[in-house]
């Protein structure tokens, strides 16, 4: 029972975390907090087999995700940790460091059609625990360096004389790091606040400025397996203008933003911001018959994107699905409940 108390205390603490933050923190901080939550679960919960651990993690993770279903990162981190557990289990049962067992084409076939039977093998739970904790530590480290590793690829994608357009530079940690490590000649930031280290233009000037632009670099909120991207609202204008002027569009995102879910209609998932950001409260009475919408995200379809930069690779949108199977395990994401 002690572990039940511990688990519920962890649950309370993480829910408090969501309520305390008035302004949403950056995605990387959220991802780190999620990994810490799962790390604590692995450390303090009680389990004998890997299957039990997976059940505990999944129950807590899905509960948290149901409470905050606009935060894809919660589920992404859950899937990362589950993948770590399965990998750890595999290395322990096969007794070697090989990740692929010998009769792998047989297993492949099995896996394709049959979700393998849950691993009831009694493995050393202490070893499993330490293995998974090590894995989570590695993943946290990857998040910490993700902005830097993305920026390291800047040299391959841009030259110093490029004119780059971006969107809301000061609101994205990844982009800020990107441009601080790579000083392009001219940077235009759309709809940003005047203190940004770039030429700030408003959204009405996008098309006219696009004629002078050679590259568009943007930050994604989530990357979907068909190559489309969820980005801050207003990004769609920039991408459409770029398509019209044949300017390559590059999206940057850490691996924690890879979401193994297809979103046919963004309306179901879109977060609404404060209506007073659009229409000040003082004017509200004058426009009492007007419904104010303030969606925070845009869905950018794959055909508008040239390249997706993650910390480990640069992929065209057509091949983003391969990254998904790099970080997540087939069993966990194949049939997700929405």
């Amino acid at each position: 029972m002690a572990d039940q108390v511990a688990v519920s205390r962890l649950r309370d603490r993480v829910n408090l975390y969501f309520h305390k933050t008035a302004v949403r923190e950056s995605s990387s901080k959220l991802a780190l907090r999620m990994l810490s939550f799962f790390e604590d679960l692995v450390r303090y919960a009680h389990y004998e087999t890997a299957e039990q651990l997976i059940a505990i993690l999944r129950a807590e993770g899905e509960l948290l995700y149901a409470a905050h279903s606009n935060e894809f990162i919660i589920r992404n981190m859950l899937l990362v940790v589950l993948r770590g557990v399965r990998d750890e289990c595999l290395t322990q049962t096969s007794g070697s460091d090989d990740t692929l067992p010998q009769a792998d084409s047989l297993n492949h076939f099995q896996r394709l059609w049959f979700l393998p039977a849950p691993n009831q093998v009694q493995i050393n739970s202490a070893q499993l625990r330490s293995g998974v904790l090590d894995f989570i530590k590695e993943m946290k480290e990857e998040i910490n360096v993700s902005a830097e590793m993305i920026s390291n690829q800047a040299g391959h994608q841009l030259v110093k004389t490029d004119t780059v357009m971006t969107y809301k530079l000061s609101q994205s940690g990844t982009l800020k790091k990107f441009f601080s490590l790579f000083r392009a000649k001219t940077i235009y930031s759309v709809d940003d606040d005047p203190s940004a280290p770039a030429n700030v233009i408003s959204s009405v000037e996008i098309l006219s400025t696009m004629k002078l632009t050679t590259r568009v670099v943007l930050s994604a909120a989530a990357i979907l397996p068909d190559g489309s991207v969820v980005a801050p609202a207003g990004t769609l204008n920039v991408c459409l203008a770029a398509k019209r002027h044949s300017v390559p569009v590059v999206f940057c995102a850490g691996y924690y933003k890879l979401t193994p879910m297809f979103i046919p209609h963004l309306d179901e998932f879109n977060v609404q911001g404060r209506p007073t950001d659009v229409l000040p409260a003082s004017e509200a009475l004058k426009f009492s018959n007007v419904s104010v919408a303030n969606p925070l995200f845009d869905l950018i379809p794959a055909h508008l994107i040239t390249l997706v930069l993650t910390q480990s690779s640069a992929k065209t949108p057509l091949h983003v699905y391969r990254l998904i199977s790099d970080y997540y395990h087939l069993e966990d994401f194949r049939q997700l409940d929405r």
């Binding site: 049959f114 068909d226 297809f262 049939q335």
Partner: protein, 340 residues
């Protein structure tokens, strides 16, 4: 003394399975017929065992018995029997693309037993293993359509206008499932000449209370502006990520692309074919024409109307299969995993 069982004709079995249950998936019927062929070879073996135990055997009976054993006492013999059965079933007038892919995948799956079991000298055991795996495979494939229907549900929401082409059992099941979960939407079905199969689809949809409109094949361009999504079934999914489907599919897909409407394809995983066509003339004739046409008009095919066309992957948005939802590019990867 019991007579040896008559040779099970795979084609007859296949046709009778489909006649008994017209809603059955064609691929599923093909693999069930193959399993029957597999099983009856097993029975002939046990017949042989019984016969040799009897002491009074005349010369020609012994010959008959040896001829039976020669037929199916080796894995190679069994494989030969099964591939003969597949060739026989390909002579059907129904969709041969589906039959070919389903059979090939079934054979691969059944014969993929671990090395230790293969070395086992007892052929009887090996056969049983084949049959066991065959049954497991069939059980899994029976669920394909409901898995696809479940995957498809997030794509349908209320007040959507859906366009579909001809009669596809997978699409029908998915739409019915969405309706059963409370979605209210309007389906437009093309009549789909020459066999008017769209009419059957519209009937079935109307029976379940879905608002349906039957439209002419030529009216697709007209109606496309008011459509929200386009859904197709498939007779075969190619390695390119493109599909083989009833003639007219390509036109609808191009129209949808021109007007920015998403195109979704629903196909069971047994329809994945290891072919890589680059254009319409590249597609093998056995997929385009029915077997009877190919036989009777071998040299005058130019005058024949093809019954299917190939839709290249650039006109498709997503493929919804029982292995998951894929972009056309990802399908090629999955196919390779299936066929290696």
């Amino acid at each position: 003394m019991t007579d040896p069982k008559p040779e099970i004709s795979a084609l007859k079995m296949f046709e009778s399975l489909l006649d008994k249950d017209p809603e059955k998936s064609m691929g599923l019927a093909a693999i069930e017929a193959l399993l029957e062929v597999l099983k009856t070879s097993t029975e002939n073996i046990s017949l042989k065992l019984n016969s040799t135990n009897s002491s009074s055997l005349s010369e020609n009976l012994q010959d008959k018995v040896t001829s039976l054993t020669d037929k199916t006492s080796t894995v190679q013999g069994l494989t030969k029997d099964l591939s003969n059965a597949v060739d026989e079933m390909m002579r059907t007038d129904r969709s041969s693309a589906t039959v070919q892919s389903a059979c090939e995948l079934f054979l691969r799956f059944s014969s993929l037993i671990s090395q230790e079991k293969l070395i086992d000298a007892n052929f009887e055991a090996v056969k049983c293993e084949y049959v066991k795996r065959g049954n497991v495979f069939i059980k899994r494939i029976e669920k394909s359509r409901s898995i696809i229907a479940k995957c498809f549900r997030p794509f349908i929401r209320s007040n959507l206008k859906v366009l579909t082409h001809s009669y596809s059992k997978v699409v029908l099941e998915s739409l019915l499932e969405s309706k059963a979960h409370g979605c209210v939407f309007h389906v437009f079905v093309t009549e789909s000449q020459p066999d008017n199969s769209g009419r059957r689809m519209a009937e079935k949809l109307r029976q379940s209370g879905i608002q349906t409109t039957l439209i002419l094949d030529s009216a697709v361009g007209y109606i496309m502006e008011s459509i929200d999504i386009v859904v197709f079934g498939a007779e075969g999914v190619m390695e390119t990520g493109g599909i083989i489907n009833k003639i007219g599919t390509l036109g609808i897909a191009i129209c949808a692309k021109a007007m920015n409407k998403p195109v979704y394809v629903m196909a069971e995983s047994i329809k994945f074919i290891k072919e890589y066509p680059l254009n319409q003339s590249d597609t093998p004739n056995k997929f385009k024409y029915r077997y009877s046409t190919l036989e009777s008009k071998k040299d005058a095919l130019d005058d024949e109307h093809p019954l299917t066309d190939y839709t290249p992957p650039q006109y498709l948005n997503l493929l919804i299969t029982d292995l998951g939802i894929f972009t056309p590019a990802a399908v090629g990867d999955e196919l390779i995993k299936l066929y290696t």
